[in-house]
Symmetry: C3
Subunit: 221 residues, 3 copies
């Protein structure tokens, strides 16, 4: 199956980014495996818990957990070389994002949930792995600050749902969504596209609070 | 229904406080919607996951999620004016706290759970939205430090459960709990009531660890 | 029952370590009870949510929640004396770790899950309480950095599962696992055993990123 193959590539790449984040925090091997797994399969786990979709994917298929743990440990050896393939990682990460979004949408559709929840399931699956990684390693969550990441998951979910709804063949829908989502994501990274950012400042003295907000489209410094 | 109307007012107000917190961290629109939604419906989500109460409220009624996302985005426009209505927000937030607590207690009662768990469900529903907001935006969790917040949720839950247990009419119980909880909460904010705080210090050198503790009732600086 | 008695000792000791962490962050009594309970019963809660094992332990048996809340409040009074019994705490914490791991493994086995997931359930039960404590109190998560903690849970889970699989009497298996795990854990603390640590550094300028990694076996400074 195409999706399964791409899914395994996706969780491997995501696990490696998680392991690098763990290494920046000087975690031990267990920490590396935990952050790698949370990054790679945390999005699907959160989605399944929110939807009450049991058993969780990695509980039913423990081999995925083995893959993410091994990918994490492997990263501790090859880390010096990994950074040289930074661009390859961005590509694999983009691929993983779309694959996760499609699978998330699929799961919610198979449960007969409403269109909006199917798209939310796509976004949760695509985004929450990186969010968990950044929470555990105490970094500002990247997906909430920069680049079209959640938006691409949203577009991929909506496109997959919409095309299937129109009765188009599933293989065609899957490949179209993969290609479209991938191109948008890579273009977003390349050209620095991102959502407007909300700035809000408040003086320390709450009684005299003032606010200044702007929705800027320029890059964050 | 009174409770449904108040619930919608409550999640709107909570979503706006979440959006302001996201703005202080310069999050993008997706981050704003995520933090707004987590703040407004995160408490009910955590409660339902802990109790195994599926489907979650917003999965069954996606319109609540639409409301919190729109309220979050709306806040990015009106933020400069929002701070002028700080007192109105405190009132709406207090109302939301009691409404959330009543609904949380109700859900656990409908599941036939024990009295203590019904009250815990009230507290979790009332408190965990703000706790999630503070975790995601990396602030010290306010509900764990100051003011009678969790305590008011506890009182509201206990009162609602107790009065219903005594066989009093549900509408009377709901209104009594709303009024009582609201008054206690507003009084707590007004007069700076809060729970005693636990201070514990330990020297860096663990071998020579010393501790000094005090349970102070004065305000935190 | 032996396991139940040891479990109550374990959650009491864990709740007290949680309360001390809350005190270092100057939390109020509610914060103390929350962190105490999350530390003591958070591991089992996360395990049950991941496995879809409902109702949660403390929902079915609210008395455990009462114990952890009381232990937390009690700690605010006796904290100055608690630090003098630091070594006793390490022993009780070690005992709790093994008991939690055995119970976690047992739950997954009773659900008929695969061997790997049973061992993962042991690790999650043993480790996630401390992880939640450190996330809520905003400390670097200890279990991801130092000492054989998750590893001991892994060994205990694997030993318990393996010996039962070989058809050995359950009481013998439980006691053997308790003794073995306890000895390994105490030895790990005494002699400073820990897993290799993964160091990864990246220059700020991503274009010129360089990495240096080492897997060191010496103590972290």
């Amino acid at each position: 199956m195409l999706l399964t193959t791409l899914y395994i590539i996706g969780i491997t790449a995501e696990a490696m980014t998680g392991a690098l984040a763990a290494g920046k925090r000087h975690m031990d091997w267990f920490g590396v495996m935990l952050v790698a797994s949370a990054t790679a399969i945390g999005g699907g786990t959160v989605r399944d818990i929110l939807l009450g979709h049991y058993p969780l994917g990695w509980v039913a298929h423990p081999q995925y957990l083995v893959i993410t743990c091994l990918a994490g440990l492997f990263t501790t050896i090859v880390a010096p070389w990994v950074v040289r393939f930074h661009k390859l990682f961005v590509l694999l990460d983009s691929l993983g994002l779309i694959v996760f979004s499609i699978i998330g949408c699929r799961v919610a559709m198979d449960m007969g949930l409403s269109p909006l929840i199917c798209i939310v399931a796509a976004v949760v699956t695509g985004v929450f792995g990186g969010l968990l990684r950044d929470l555990i390693t105490r970094r500002p969550p990247m997906v909430l600050h920069k680049e079209l990441y959640a938006s691409v998951a949203f577009i991929a979910g909506a496109m997959y749902f919409g095309l299937l709804y129109l009765g188009i063949d599933e293989t065609i829908v899957t490949i179209s969504t993969l290609v479209t989502g991938f191109v948008i994501r890579v273009a977003a990274v390349q050209f620095g596209w991102h959502l407007p950012v909300f700035h809000f400042e408040e003086l320390d003295n709450e009684a005299n609070a003032k606010a200044s907000t702007k929705n800027s489209a320029e890059s964050q410094g």
